[in-house]
Symmetry: C2
Subunit: 210 residues, 2 copies
């Protein structure tokens, strides 16, 4: 398969969430134009995005909503349940552990870790907090597929190295720091400070550009 741009994958997620929405409302057919309008892009972009994976529509008619959403779920790897381990049971970690949106998409939190011995054993949502020492054995036993990092910036790289070494290949980090991983590991970072700075940049430079 040709390399797929991250922007394309993001849009596929958007298309899928609309498809699920209109599917729930009983709509059975849609078009690239509908998807584009709802997703803030163009119909050509929608068709091009889908064309990387096959051809799912009928000329003159459009797309079958159930079929396309099922194909997108498959493409995005949502046909199975994914186990998520949350590392760091602070405010954000705890909020995520309880976040219902996880389950709706097939993600289940199977472990929460914290370095603070006082927290170990407490429940975070429905999951007991585990000691950081469990990280390697748990990972090797396949207790989770995806690591979500909600630890302080200083600790993040060390933990990334540990979970990568014991076999994790997908990491979502909320730590406000640049992390490095081997080429075969996928890392996504959500950095609040960076998002806010994008906004202040725009506020500060509005008018002079557009």
């Amino acid at each position: 398969m040709r390399r797929i741009a991250e922007s394309t994958v993001r849009r596929l997620s958007i298309y899928l969430s609309f498809l699920e929405e209109i599917e729930a409302r009983g709509v059975t057919t849609t078009s690239s134009d509908d998807l584009a309008r709802l997703g803030g892009t163009t119909s050509a972009q929608v068709r091009k995005d889908l064309s990387f994976f096959g051809s799912f529509g009928k000329r003159g008619l459009g797309y079958s909503v159930p079929e396309l959403s099922s194909r997108l779920r498959e493409i995005l790897g949502l046909g199975r349940q994914w186990k998520v381990g949350i590392i760091g049971a602070g405010k954000i970690g705890a909020a995520l552990a309880r976040y219902a949106g996880f389950a709706e998409r097939g993600f289940v939190v199977t472990a929460v870790y914290d370095a603070d011995p006082a927290k170990v054993g407490n429940k975070s949502g429905s999951v007991a907090i585990r000691s950081m020492e469990r990280l390697e054995p748990d990972t090797r036993e396949g207790r989770f597929d995806i690591a979500v990092l909600t630890v302080p910036a200083e600790a993040a790289q060390g933990i990334v190295d540990r979970v990568v070494k014991s076999g994790i290949r997908a990491i979502l980090s909320f730590a406000p720091t640049q992390l490095s991983v081997p080429a075969d590991v996928t890392l996504r970072t959500v950095n609040m400070a960076m998002e806010l700075e994008g906004l202040t940049f725009a506020l500060t430079n509005k008018g002079s550009d557009n």
Copy 2:
């Protein structure tokens, strides 16, 4: 000023965070090569990014750390304090309201809102939770510059419309839905589901590509 790519702005944030880090360690000089290595990019990219805003280095020598970090803060609009209003005092909203990283970067949470009357008046961090009805008057009085949305997907567009109408020009949304704003409003969206789907896509399609 020529239109600046979002990717460039994101990298400027990264460069700045490194500069602050090494500045704290007493380093006084750096090079595009250092910044590139730490930020996971190339030295040509660093120089090109900076070149959109001026020329801040000395050939043969590199960049003065204090000078460059100060210029970047200025470019990113961090020379002043920004007031943030958090709309939605659920788990994520509450976690953000207490998030110390905010203050470090010059952001101060001046208001927290919630639609649930039972929550109004309670404290979230050091700020009292206000009624949603206060949104318009508060916004018009300049109580906050940036709106952070942590409300359910269904409520998000309505609130965006309200704050935009009363003058807000920068919004950071955590609602898992596509939002639309006028061209003069900057919107950034953080969507957990989308990030996780980016990971499952990669996990599912590894091997066949790279």
